[in-house]
C-alpha cells in the first residue's frame, strides 16, 4: 500500500496500471473476435447455399420429380421431396402439437409441484437431448420391426414428433407462465370452471406465443434427415400418400444427390438446400414477426 499511497499523494486520480488496461483490451478484442468467428461460417454457409442453389432453383425444379431420370441427367426436380417434406412435417405437427400443448398445460395449470410434474419436467429436458438417429431407431424397432409396418412418410413423422414434442412443451410452459394470475382468478371468481378458464381465457392469451414456439419447432424438425433415412426410405417419384410406401423429402433428397459423383446431382443438392433453407427461414421470420406483434399486448 505504501508505494500506491505515495503515488496517490501526487495526484488525486491514480493511473490504471498498464497491465490491467492491457488485460481489459485483450479480452475485449478476444470477445469481439469470438463473435466474428461465429459469423464467418454462417455467412459462408448461406452464401454457398444461395449462390450455388440459384443455379438450379427454378420453376422446373419445384414442379418436376426425379422420376425416370438418372443422376447424371440434367434437369429433374425436387417436387416429390417438397411434397413429402410438407406432408411429413404436417403429420408431425398434428401429433406433436396437441400432445405438447396438453403436457405444457398440465405442467403449469395442474401439475403444481407434484412428483409427476417434476418427473415430466425433467424428462422433457432430457428428451430435447435425444439424438434424432436414436428416435429413428426407436420407431424402426417399434413401428417397422415389431408392428410390421412398411416404410412410409408417417413412420418418419412419428420419429419427428418425438423430437418436436419437448420443444412444444417448453414453449407452451413458458408462455402459460407469462399469463398473469389475475386473469385466472378473475375467471374463477365469475364461476367459470377450470377447464373453460384454461381453454377460453388462458390459452388464447398465450396463443401467439405458443404459435411462435410451434413454428420454430416445425422449422427445427423440417431439416432432420437421419430418422427419415431409416423410416421413409427414398423414391424418385411423387408419392402423395404418406401412409404407404417410401416417400421423398428434401433432406433425404439432398443426402442422396450430394453423395452422387455427378455434378448435375450436386447442383440439385444445392438447389434443394436453398429450398429447404428458404422454407425454414420463412418460418423463423414469421415466428419472429409474430413474437414482435405479441410484445405490446403482454406488457
Amino acid at each position: 500500500m505504501s508505494v500506491k499511497g505515495a503515488e496517490l499523494e501526487l495526484k488525486s486520480l491514480p493511473r490504471v496500471s498498464a497491465r490491467r488496461r492491457m488485460a481489459d483490451r485483450t479480452v475485449q478484442s478476444l470477445v469481439y473476435a469470438a463473435f466474428v468467428i461465429a459469423i464467418i461460417p454462417l455467412v459462408s454457409v448461406l452464401w454457398m447455399v444461395v449462390t450455388r442453389g440459384m443455379e438450379r432453383l427454378d420453376l422446373d425444379f419445384l414442379t418436376f420429380s426425379m422420376n425416370g431420370l438418372s443422376s447424371s441427367d440434367e434437369g429433374g426436380g425436387a417436387n416429390h421431396a417438397i411434397v413429402g417434406t410438407l406432408q411429413q412435417v404436417g403429420l408431425t405437427a398434428v401429433m406433436a402439437v396437441p400432445l405438447g400443448i396438453l403436457t405444457g398445460v398440465y405442467l403449469v395449470e395442474y401439475g403444481g409441484n407434484s412428483r409427476l410434474a417434476r418427473v415430466i419436467t425433467f424428462f422433457v429436458d432430457v428428451m430435447t437431448g435425444i439424438p434424432s438417429i436414436v428416435a429413428g431407431l426407436f420407431i424402426l424397432a417399434f413401428w417397422l420391426l415389431a408392428l410390421g409396418f412398411e416404410y412410409s412418410g408417417f413412420a418418419g413423422a412419428l420419429a419427428l414428433a418425438i423430437l418436436m414434442m419437448p420443444t412444444v412443451v417448453r414453449a407452451t410452459e413458458e408462455m402459460l407462465k407469462l399469463v398473469p394470475n389475475d386473469l385466472r382468478e378473475a375467471s374463477y371468481a365469475l364461476g367459470v370452471p377450470r377447464w373453460r378458464t384454461i381453454c377460453f381465457v388462458v390459452l388464447p392469451t398465450a396463443l401467439t406465443g405458443i404459435v411462435t414456439g410451434v413454428m420454430l419447432a416445425v422449422a427445427r424438425v423440417m431439416g432432420e434427415t437421419a430418422p427419415l433415412l431409416l423410416l421413409v426410405f427414398i423414391t424418385d417419384a411423387i408419392n402423395s400418400n404418406p401412409f404407404e410406401g417410401p416417400q421423398g423429402s428434401l433432406p433425404t433428397f439432398i443426402w442422396y444427390q450430394a453423395g452422387d459423383p455427378n455434378p448435375q446431382a450436386i447442383e440439385r443438392a444445392w438447389a434443394a438446400a436453398l429450398t429447404l433453407i428458404l422454407i425454414i427461414m420463412l418460418l423463423n421470420l414469421g415466428a419472429r414477426l409474430l413474437a414482435r406483434l405479441r410484445k405490446p399486448v403482454s406488457r
Binding site: 500500500m1 500506491k4 499511497g5 495526484k11 488525486s12 486520480l13 491514480p14 493511473r15 490504471v16 490491467r20
Partner: protein, 258 residues
C-alpha cells in the same frame, strides 16, 4: 486523504429523459454531507454521477464538471475505473459477492490494485473490518461466504470492502433503508467514526438520520413528474433543519409535503 468535491453545472440524462438539472455545490472534506428530498428527485442519480456510476446504465449520460480537488472527473482523458478507485460506494442493498468468502470480499478491491502479499492483505482486511466495526463478529469465520451474514453485517462488510482500498470519498446510497433499527444505529455510529478520515456523502430518505449523521445537508426537489430534479439549497445541517432559506425546504422538513 479526504478531498473536496466541487460540482458545477451538472446535468444527467437517461436517454431522452432529463433526470437532474444544473447542479452546482461543494462537498467539504472530512465531513458528512446528506442529500434529502422526495422520491424521484434525482438525489441517487446525482450521487452516482460523483463516481461515474451513472453512465453504467445503458443510454445514461452526464454533462458538467465534477472537480475532485483540482481534477475533473469527467475530463476527456480520465478513466472511470480510476475515478471509482478513489470514490468508493456503498449501495442501498448490501451486495457482497455471493461466490466469495468474507475475507475475499474485503480483499477484492485490493487484489485488483495489485496487492498480492498475504501478510499485507491480512493486515488491510483486518484493519478494514475493524474500521467497519465488523471484525469482532467475523474474525473466526473469515473464510465463510459473505452472503451468510445478517443484512446489517453484510452492509458493514460492503463498507469494509469499500474502505479497504482507502478511497478519498465514500458515497452511500440510502445505506440503511434495507436494515432494521439496530443495524441502522450501528451504521450511523460507523459513519460518525469514518468522517474523520473520509469525505462522506449519504443519500437518505430519513430526515432524522440526516439530522443525526450529517454536517451539511442538501435538499433536492422536482417541480413535477417528468421534470428534472434540482438542488434547492445546501447549508449546514443545523440551519437546514431549523431555519432554511427556502420555503420548499421548510415545507418538506416540516412534513407539509413529500
Amino acid at each position: 486523504m479526504a478531498k473536496r468535491i466541487e460540482i458545477s453545472g451538472l446535468h444527467a440524462y437517461y436517454g431522452a429523459v432529463h433526470a437532474i438539472e444544473d447542479i452546482s455545490m461543494t462537498v467539504e472534506p472530512r465531513s458528512v454531507t446528506a442529500f434529502i428530498g422526495p422520491s424521484g428527485c434525482g438525489k441517487s442519480t446525482f450521487l452516482r454521477t460523483l463516481n461515474r456510476m451513472h453512465e453504467v446504465i445503458p443510454g445514461a449520460r452526464v454533462e458538467g464538471k465534477v472537480m475532485l480537488d483540482d481534477e475533473d472527473l469527467y475530463g476527456s482523458d480520465v478513466d472511470p475505473v480510476a475515478v471509482r478507485r478513489v470514490v468508493g460506494m456503498v449501495f442501498q442493498r448490501p451486495n457482497p459477492f455471493p461466490t466469495m468468502s468474507i475475507y475475499d470480499n474485503v480483499a477484492a478491491g485490493l487484489k485488483l490494485n495489485g496487492v498480492r502479499r498475504k501478510s499485507q492483505l491480512d493486515e488491510i482486511v483486518e484493519r478494514s473490518l475493524k474500521g467497519a466495526n465488523l471484525w469482532n463478529e467475523v474474525k473466526d469465520r473469515l473464510s465463510r461466504p459473505g452472503a451468510g451474514l445478517s443484512g446489517g453485517q453484510q452492509q458493514r462488510l460492503c463498507i469494509a470492502r469499500a474502505i479497504a482500498v482507502q478511497p478519498q470519498v465514500l458515497l452511500m446510497d440510502e445505506p440503511c433503508s434495507a436494515l432494521d433499527p439496530i443495524s441502522t444505529l450501528a451504521i450511523e455510529d460507523l459513519i460518525a467514526e469514518l468522517k474523520s478520515q473520509y469525505t462522506i456523502v449519504i443519500v437518505t430518505h430519513n430526515m432524522q438520520q440526516a439530522a443525526r449523521v450529517s454536517d451539511r445537508t442538501a435538499f433536492f426537489n422536482i417541480a413535477g413528474t417528468g421534470k428534472p430534479g434540482k438542488l434547492i439549497e445546501i447549508d449546514d445541517t443545523s440551519k437546514i433543519f431549523t431555519n432554511p432559506s427556502e420555503k420548499a425546504t421548510e415545507d418538506y422538513i416540516t412534513g407539509r409535503f413529500g
